[in-house]
Symmetry: C2
Subunit: 359 residues, 2 copies
C-alpha cells in the first residue's frame, strides 16, 4: 500500500521533541537526552520507537505516570555490577545513565553488568547495546516488553511480551555487527506503525485467540504476537525476562503494566546492559581484524538466485545515519499530523509540522 511520507531535518525533529517535552515540564537537560535517544531510534529505522512515540509519552506525562524529577541512583554496586533505580523516570534517561556506568566499569574491569529497576519504556534496544561501541566495547542489552502481547507457548493468557535482545560488536573497517530484535516475529511497535499506515500484516506475525491468522493490525488487541521459532522464541523471551526483569526486581508476567492503556501506574520496566572489553580474550586489533574478515566473508558470499546481496545485522546503520542526516528523516503524514496536534495542546506552533506536508 502506498504511504505518504515527508522528510524532516534531524536537528529540527530533535529540537521539536525537546521543546514539546520542556513544555510538558521535563527539564531541558533531561529532554535533550530523551530526544537524542528517540531520534537515534529513527536513524536506525526503528521508527516504532522514535519520534512516533512522543504523543504516547506526553499522554503519560499528562496523567502523572512519569516522575519528571527522578532521583536516578545506584542502589547496589560491585566493581563489575550495578543496580540502578530509575525512580519512575523516563527510560531513555535511566538507561543512558546505566550505559555510562556499564561503559565506565567495563573499561576498568573488562566486564560489567548493570541492571535497572523502576524505569519506563526506553525505546530501541540497539541504541543502548551500541553505546559502548565508540570505546570498542561489546554491548548486550535485554529488556522486558512494555505490555504483554503474547501468551506462553500453548497457552492463552497474556503473560509474555516481545522481550527484545540487542547485541553490538565492534569491527575495524567493516560495519559493526548490531543485532536488535524482538523475540516475537514482529514487535508491537511495528504493528502500531502498520496500523497507522493502513498496512495489512503478513500471516505468521499474529494469531487470534483461537490460533487463526490475524492480519488486520487495527484488531491487534484481539490477538497475540507469535514468538520466533514457536516454543524456542517463548523460551528465549522468558529467560530475557528473567535476566532483565526478575533479577532486578522489575516487572515480569502479570506484573507488567500496559504502557499504552494505563497511564498512571509505574511500569517498572526491566532492562539490563552487559558490556565487555574484547581484549579480555584477544588483542583488540586482532579481534577487529577477525570480525572484519567474518563480516566481509558473509557480505561477499553468493546470494540466492534473484536475491539482493547478503547482509549482516546493522550493516546499513552508518550509511543510513549519513543519508538521513543529509536528507532528513521520513515521517508518515499521519505521524506528522499527530505531532502537530500534540504541539498545539501546549501552544507550540512554530515547528516543522505547521504547514501540511502535502498541500
Amino acid at each position: 500500500m502506498a504511504e505518504t511520507t515527508t522528510r524532516y531535518p534531524l536537528g529540527a525533529l530533535e529540537a521539536f521533541v525537546v521543546e514539546v517535552l520542556v513544555r510538558h515540564d521535563v527539564t531541558r537537560p533531561d529532554a535533550t537526552v530523551v530526544a537524542a535517544r528517540m531520534l537515534e531510534a529513527d536513524l536506525r529505522g526503528m521508527s516504532g520507537h522514535g519520534i512516533f512515540r512522543l504523543p504516547a509519552y506526553c499522554q503519560r506525562i499528562t496523567h502523572g505516570g512519569y516522575n519528571l524529577r527522578p532521583n536516578i541512583r545506584t542502589v547496589r554496586e560491585t566493581p563489575v555490577s550495578a543496580l540502578v533505580d530509575g525512580d519512575n523516570g523516563f527510560g531513555q534517561l535511566v538507561m543512558t545513565h546505566a550505559a555510562e556506568i556499564a561503559a565506565e566499569k567495563a573499561a576498568e574491569q573488562g566486564l560489567a553488568w548493570v541492571g535497572v529497576r523502576g524505569p519506563n519504556h526506553a525505546g530501541a534496544a540497539g541504541v543502548y547495546a551500541s553505546m559502548g561501541l565508540g570505546r570498542d566495547l561489546i554491548g548486550l542489552y535485554l529488556a522486558v516488553g512494555n505490555a504483554n502481547h503474547a501468551p506462553p507457548w500453548g497457552g492463552v493468557e497474556l503473560l509474555t511480551s516481545t522481550n527484545p535482545i540487542a547485541v553490538a560488536i565492534p569491527t575495524g573497517e567493516q560495519p559493526a555487527v548490531i543485532l536488535d530484535m524482538a523475540t516475537t516475529v514482529a514487535s508491537y511497535g511495528r504493528i502500531k506503525v502498520a496500523a497507522e499506515r493502513g498496512e495489512t500484516l503478513p500471516e505468521g506475525w499474529m494469531v487470534d485467540r483461537r490460533g487463526a491468522p490475524l492480519t488486520d493490525p487495527t484488531h491487534a488487541s484481539e490477538g497475540f504476537l507469535l514468538p520466533i521459532g514457536g516454543y524456542k522464541g517463548y523460551g528465549l523471551g522468558l529467560v530475557i525476562g528473567c535476566l532483565a526483569g526478575v533479577l532486578n526486581g522489575a516487572a515480569l508476567g502479570s506484573g507488567v503494566v500496559d504502557f499504552s492503556r494505563d497511564h498512571t501506574t509505574p511500569t517498572n520496566t526491566g532492562q539490563m546492559l552487559l558490556m565487555v572489553r574484547p581484549d579480555l580474550f584477544r588483542p583488540l586489533d586482532e579481534f577487529k581484524a577477525d570480525m572484519d574478515a567474518r563480516v566481509r566473508e558473509l557480505r561477499e558470499s553468493t546470494p540466492m538466485e534473484g536475491h539482493p546481496p547478503v547482509r549482516t545485522p546493522g550493516d546499513r546503520h552508518a550509511e543510513r545515519v549519513d543519508e538521513m542526516t543529509a536528507s532528513g528523516i521520513p515521517l508518515a503524514h499521519e505521524t506528522a499530523t499527530r505531532l502537530a496536534d500534540l504541539a498545539a495542546t501546549v501552544g507550540y506552533l512554530d515547528h516543522p509540522f505547521v504547514a501540511s506536508p502535502n498541500p
Copy 2:
C-alpha cells in the same frame, strides 16, 4: 513411524562409555568426565548429543583428530574472565574445566566470563549452562555449531551453523528455568537422530538449495537448516558465533571444520560461559521466590483448548532425571547396534549391548 528402543541402566551406559574411551587411549579420569557430560545430555532428552555420539568421537580418535593428552590451561585471565586453551582436547573436558573456573570466579566476584579456544564438540549446551545451578549461579552458554549447515539469510554458501544458546536460572521450589536451543529450527543432531530412526522431517526444518522444503533426513547434506524467525535467527546465530568464536580466536564461518567429515583437522570450536551471582542485584531468597512466582504463574496459566498444561523451559528436567535414573535411558535399536559394533572393534564384549535387545 514406530521406533524400537530399549532402556539401559544409566550406570551401565556410563561405564560403557568410559571403557570404550579408555580402550581408545583416553585416560580413565578424562574418560569419566567425558562420559558424565555425555550421559547428562541423554538425561536431558538431548539424545543427539549423548551416547549416540560415541562412535563419531571414537572415529575421530582413531584418525588422530583429538589430542588425548591435552594441556588444558588458562592463557589470559582477570578476576572476572579467563581464556582457556583446550589444546585440541575433548570439548567435554575443556568446558568442564572452563565451567569450574567460571563458577569459582563468579562466586568470588559476582560475575565471570570464560571463553575457550581449541576445544572440540562439547555436547549439550544446557549441561554447561547448568553447572553453576548447585551454587545458585545463573549460567549463559554460547557455542559455535560444529559444522556449517546453513547459509546466511538470503544466501547459498554454507557459512553459518546451529549456534546454540543455553541459559540456566536458579529457582526455589519450582523447576529451574533451563533453556537449551539451537538458533536453527532444528539442530543437526536432531536431524541425524531422525535419519537413524527413519523419520520424516516436518516442513520448515530444512530447505534444499532452491528453497524448497526438504523432509528426508537422509538427504540432509543436500540442503540447509532454517534459522528461527528467518533473518532474526540468522542474526542471533551470528552474534553468538562472534561472542563464542571470534572473541576467543576460535573458528567461525569458512574456518569451521565439519566434525562429521573431517576427522583430523583441529576443530577449534568456539564456546563461552558466563556465570552471575543473583545477589549482585537482589537478595538471593527474594530472587528465588520471585522466580518461583513467575514460573508458577506460567505453568498454572490456562492452556489453549485441547492443549496440555503450559510449560517452562527445563520444567521436566528433574523428573526426567529421576525417571531415567530409575528406569534406564532409552536407546534406539540402531544406536545400540552401532555401540556394540564400536565395542567389538576394541575387543570389548562384556557390555549391555552384547545380546540383541529384541531377540
